[in-house]
């Protein structure tokens, strides 16, 4: 699980720089939540592209003066990024006034997709590519909104577990406050990931590392000292979220079909 943070920084900065240049983009956009992942992503992007080529989008729902918004502003200022605040409450409220609900998941997903929609519009407006911030833990357990916060052009953080991102953040010199913040998807006030999932990131990451990176069987992970219920819960989360990690299946009826046997790389002719 240990990483060499300076090496990882070098590789990920090169990745951001090269992918953008292949697609003839100079600028990147990062949705800044004031949390760990987006701060790390913005910091890498600033190093890779130069701070003035990174636009930090701060997208609160209603409360423009919350601690998270302040933290996001502080990160943008510290890194020297351009930043823009867009309040998503008019759009979200307009929708739910017509289709009211108390379902916090529905509201949270709607907010996440509203942010995505704004990021993509600014991507076109600014000729800048969206840098994703979904980490390996979230991707594996499916803790993200499909077509919401999971949407991006490239994702520099997707192969780092949450705990590894914290190690990288320490190396990048991010403020203590960001490092110590309890991770939240910001789905509702006071929400934290670990409470909602019912497990700590430290535990999830270690179990995932054994299951995924080390290819261990469930029994081996339990024998290594992890609670059976935790391991089973994590496995269920992974199994049930495969659809979030794949393009939707296309019914194959012709002799050559997108996704089946019409096979080209993302970086085609780049």
């Amino acid at each position: 699980m240990k990483i060499n943070a300076p090496f990882v920084e070098k590789v990920l900065c090169a990745f951001i720089r090269e992918e953008l240049s292949r697609f003839h983009f100079k600028k990147g956009i990062v949705g800044l939540s004031g949390g760990l992942d987006s701060s790390v992503c913005a910091s890498l992007a600033a190093k890779a592209l130069g701070p003035k080529n990174v636009l930090g989008m701060i997208l609160p729902c209603g409360d423009n003066c919350s601690e998270d918004v302040k933290d996001a502003r502080r990160v943008a200022r510290r890194l020297g990024l351009r930043s823009q605040v867009v309040d998503i409450s008019p759009m979200v409220d307009a929708y739910f006034s017509r289709y009211p609900t108390q379902d916090r998941i529905r509201i949270g997903n709607k907010m996440s997709r509203e942010r995505m929609s704004i990021l993509y519009d600014f991507s076109a407006k600014e000729k800048a590519l969206i840098l994703g911030t979904s980490n390996k833990t979230e991707l594996l357990i499916g803790y993200g909104t499909i077509h919401g916060d999971m949407a991006c052009a490239i994702n520099p953080l997707g192969d780092l577990y949450k705990t590894q991102i914290r190690d990288l953040a320490v190396h990048l010199g991010l403020p203590q406050k960001i490092l110590k913040k309890r991770p939240t998807a910001g789905l509702w006030p006071g929400q934290t990931d670990e409470e909602e999932i019912g497990l700590t990131y430290a535990e999830i990451d270690q179990v995932l590392f054994l299951l995924v990176d080390e290819r261990k069987a469930k029994e081996d992970v339990i024998a290594a000292g992890f609670a059976k219920e935790s391991v089973e819960k994590i496995l269920t989360l992974v199994k049930n979220s495969e659809f979030k990690r794949k393009m939707p299946p296309i019914a194959k009826i012709s002799s050559r079909t997108v996704g089946h046997d019409f096979l080209y790389p993302y970086d085609r002719n780049r």
């Binding site: 990483i3 060499n4 090496f7 590789v11 080209y264 790389p265 970086d267 085609r268």
Partner: protein
């Protein structure tokens, strides 16, 4: 005798652009007085081609890009990687050694990794031979990436008299630790060190850098001398031209010190292999 490893990052499916990349690095190698410049696996086309294999394939005997490179090989020997359409509609992951305006040898990749993140056998036909051939550096053998991780392949080049083993590669780095490199980089160096020492040959390994669909090609190109000594190692991330002086006399001196070559018994190995293969069960 100076040789150069061009640790470059080609563009996927952009042959003209990649030819220019080759020309640029050939010029740099010539300026450094190198007599040989080595490019990575599929240097003319990029690696993650998938269905583009069928569009990027060319016949080196007739192709205009090859004509340009062959012409340059009158001034400097060139090793490069490309998609070869050997017969109509049959495509190989190939490496060519150009010298004196001619193609001295074409090696077709035998071990096509097809597991996990790799799917080469889905798109390429499999090569069927390893052989060494004479060059101005002595007998030389070519291998492509995974070929080199099969030590039997290196043995064949050794048995065929290779003084110089040239490996061209597009090896993605993977696995993290506290080290300032990918875990997989060590695997190539380990083989380089062992094969150079036990075959008493130079081993030239040219890997690429850059990114394709998120894969990180991990550079780290190197040269070992026939005594297993690391002469040079390139960075893990950056495009660069590594130039190193080879003392070809070391081939002789290493074999005087360690008679592995003199004492080799290919006929015993052949007989034992034949027996093992006969014993295969259905």
């Amino acid at each position: 005798m100076k040789i150069a490893l061009a640790q470059v990052s080609p563009r996927l499916g952009e042959l003209k652009q990649n030819l220019n990349l080759h020309l640029h690095f050939i010029e740099k190698a010539k300026k450094k007085k190198a007599g040989l410049v080595v490019f990575p696996e599929l240097s003319l086309t990029g690696y993650t081609l998938m269905d583009m294999v069928q569009e990027a394939g060319l016949n080196p005997a007739k192709d205009a890009i090859f004509a340009a490179l062959k012409k340059l090989s009158r001034e400097i020997d060139i090793v490069l990687g490309f998609v070869e359409e050997k017969e109509k509609g049959i495509f190989f992951n190939s490496a060519a050694y150009l010298s004196g305006g001619k193609i001295l040898h074409v090696h077709r990749k035998v071990f096509l990794p097809t597991h996990g993140m790799f799917e080469e056998a889905k798109f390429f036909a499999q090569g069927k031979n390893f052989r060494s051939f004479p060059t101005r550096y002595g007998r030389t053998g070519l291998m492509i990436c995974r070929d080199f991780l099969s030590y039997g392949a290196s043995y064949l080049l050794f048995a065929d008299g290779a003084d110089l083993i040239i490996v061209i590669s597009a090896a993605p780095g993977r696995g993290m630790s506290e080290e300032k490199a990918f875990e997989t980089s060590r695997m190539w160096e380990l083989m380089g060190e062992a094969i150079s020492f036990f075959s008493t040959s130079f081993v030239l390994y040219c890997n690429r850098v850059g990114f394709e669909d998120g894969k990180v090609f991990a550079g780290g190109s190197f040269v070992y001398n026939p005594l297993g000594k690391l002469l040079v190692k390139a960075s893990a991330v950056d495009e660069e031209l590594v130039v190193v002086d080879l003392d070809l006399e070391e081939i002789r001196s290493s074999r005087k010190k360690w008679p592995y070559k003199r004492d080799d018994k290919p006929e015993v190995i052949l007989q034992a292999l034949a027996r093992i293969i006969r014993g295969y069960e259905d």
